[in-house]
Subunit: 427 residues, 2 copies
């Protein structure tokens, strides 16, 4: 399957498990050049700058005026130069940005002072090519750690990047940020607000080194809504907590993660505390959740998409700890891969997670099928269980029987392909 | 290679990296039936009771009098019935035990009230077969979670277990506790004390669900020294912290883990606070460290043994956190497997570990070869690095440049074989 067909099929499959909030509707791309998928006020571009052989590796997202901007970044202490620089630029421009420039193929991480200089040069090149200020540019990089950026190639590619930009070029942009992703990730919704319809669209990349603690991968979002940077930041952070921070492929938190959103302020206005604000937040969460789930579906070597749902915890925080421990357990992930109804590994993971419970009160379901009932009663039918776990996507629910704390995270299986990909990634 | 040859070769290889404390010497088994490997005062037995097809699955370690005993157990909230029972027995007998009975092939975990009853029956059967009290019996189980023990088979096997017991049968015992282990694990030392020579010997099993938080697998140790249970418990806990709690195969903490030691009190006496006590502790640590390292060498699918050494941390605790994060990172473990000098993944793991540092002050070595020098200078020779990382065993050292905190943990690579083993373990 072609990457875009694969993406469309993954989105359709996830969308069948999803219910959008009222007033929010999915935007389906027309499947042809120039389809109106991206919000008004933005142009995009994705080209090959020679950082990677042949494949697209340089992405631009440009707003035609100062965009209200917000961003969340990796919490890894070894954060990359572009993360450092982007934080400074966001602060310096008081959240009014014009562009995101992003390369794949090189993370510009663990590159020291030279790396920061190189990130600055990327911002300066973008600024001079597009007639904006360097401090209005967010810079992002993804790829191998510890190698210097081929900045000359990026500088040389600016004219091509400019001539290839346009509102309709979001597909190129989505492709240009891919690393070991097997398909580009994109999603958009319209949300009906009191002042008219706002659109929110996003592209993302994921694949390896995926585990929260912040943004967890790269995602670039845009909306035509009119919104202040501070309020946009609040919405982004809230949505991030239950989308990108609720996924895990391998428990590894990258050095380069970033999720950024720009609002072109051309559409309906969103006031703090309004019903419109609530709706906008829900719509943003829908887009980010879909992008996050696409990252899991396309996790390195993933063949299964599994929702881990913890209920009845003493607190949401304990539920989240338990959910993440199950979602990251190599023994659970290999059992998912092997289609083995190994509930023992699931409760063993919950048992070491730090969440409190009494084992006799645990209950486990695979989708709606009870697997373990309180009293450690595992009298389920292996045949019925197999029907669930042989599916590409299903939900594992564990109830701790202690309170009303709950959490949901999404994970994938651990397969031989993960080992193959990561045993030879750098070379 | 035969399992015992494989074990001997693994021990020799690890021993070449080890320096024993002064006064401590390795006991090499003579390689024939009846060799004098185990301390005086103990008999052992290992037989097939029909829990597993064909292979040995029932182990006995018996002391000819009340042994001073100490034990550490899993911290997993889903702890197994035998763990629960053994804790009660240790308390009830004030640390004076006579026997350990252990089966493999079934964990008797998540088995509720019936599981506890079954563990009690194992203790009672052992007590009546060997003329001791049930409360003097430690019970251990390892294998699949959530299935009831075939207790009738264990009861029926008692006469065979008794007739097959003897001081020379430690090899059978070491085999009988294996699950997915590919070789039995054993080690013994002599330690010269003021009152004569004491011997400390142990057997262990590991393989999957290996990550600390307590004992982390099964290990049964014995000594002929004369020592009070309380002091023995202190020595066991201290040695456990830097041996079994310093290894990880997959980050998963089992429901059944236990390390137990019995002292037959026939040999030299050890008084609290004495030089003998210090020596005994060091000797015990040597045995437990070797057993722990053997577990890593024989980790599921492992092809590499890697020591992760963190130095220059703000505290030992932070160093340990950083070491464990590196040791459990799937990206680091696949890079080790692929013999890729991917130092970026190592510092990225340290960066998300919670340990504090400034990335420009990090330094990384593979054995004695500097890979990353402060200032993020990675000007190493790939050829020289390859010489180190293509070895079966080596050390990765990371200096954080913050203080004098240090920690060492041992880990293995993550290979396709791990996925194969765990994708089909239960069936």
């Amino acid at each position: 399957m072609e990457p875009f067909e694969k993406a469309a099929s993954a989105i359709d499959s996830l969308f069948s498990r999803t219910s959008l909030p009222e007033g929010v509707s999915r935007v389906v791309p027309a499947g042809q050049e120039g389809d109106a998928f991206w919000p008004a006020g933005f142009t995009l571009s994705g080209i090959n700058a020679g950082i990677k052989p042949q494949r697209k590796d340089l992405m631009l997202l440009l707003c035609d005026g100062p965009a209200s901007s917000a961003s969340v970044f990796t919490t890894n202490l070894c954060c990359a130069a572009p993360v450092e620089l982007s934080k400074r630029h966001l602060a310096a421009s008081s959240g009014r940005m014009r562009a995101v420039i992003c390369n794949s193929g090189n993370a510009n991480a663990a590159t020291g002072a030279k790396g920061l200089e190189d990130a600055r040069r990327m911002a300066a090149d973008t600024a001079s090519a597009f007639g904006i200020s360097a401090e209005e540019v967010l810079v992002a990089s993804t790829g191998v750690i510890g190698q210097l950026l081929p900045t000359d190639r990026i500088t040389a590619a600016m004219p091509t990047l400019k001539s290839a930009s346009g509102a309709q070029h979001w597909r190129d942009a989505a492709e240009a940020i891919m690393t070991t992703d097997t398909f580009p990730k994109f999603f958009a919704v319209d949300v009906a607000l009191s002042g008219g319809t706002a659109r929110i669209a996003g592209i993302a990349k994921g694949s390896g080194m995926i585990c929260p603690n912040m943004a967890t991968m790269l995602a670039f979002l845009a909306t035509d809504a009119e919104i202040e940077p501070e309020l946009l930041q609040e919405h982004l952070a809230a949505a991030n907590a239950v989308s990108f921070n609720a996924i895990t492929v391998d428990g590894d938190t990258s050095t380069n993660d970033m999720a950024a959103i720009m609002a072109s302020n051309r559409g309906p206005s969103i006031a703090r505390g309004s019903e419109d604000s609530r709706l906008f937040g829900a719509a943003l969460r829908s887009v980010m959740t879909m992008l996050a789930q696409l990252i899991v579906v396309d996790g390195e070597g993933a063949t299964k998409f599994v929702e881990i749902r913890i209920e009845g915890a003493r607190s949401d925080d304990e539920a989240r700890k338990a959910a993440m421990t199950v979602a990251n357990s190599p023994l659970v992930k290999t059992a998912i891969h092997g289609e083995d109804a190994n509930w023992g590994r699931i409760i063993a993971a919950v048992g070491r997670s730090g969440a409190s419970f009494i084992q006799e009160e645990l209950a486990v379901w695979f989708d709606a099928l009870p697997i373990l009932k309180p009293g450690l009663d595992a009298g389920f039918s292996e045949e019925e269980a197999k029907k669930v776990i042989s599916k590409d996507a299903y939900t594992i629910t564990v109830s701790l029987g202690k309170g009303s704390g709950a959490a949901v995270v999404w994970t994938c299986d651990l397969s031989n392909r993960y080992i193959e990909i990561n045993g030879s990634y750098r070379s």
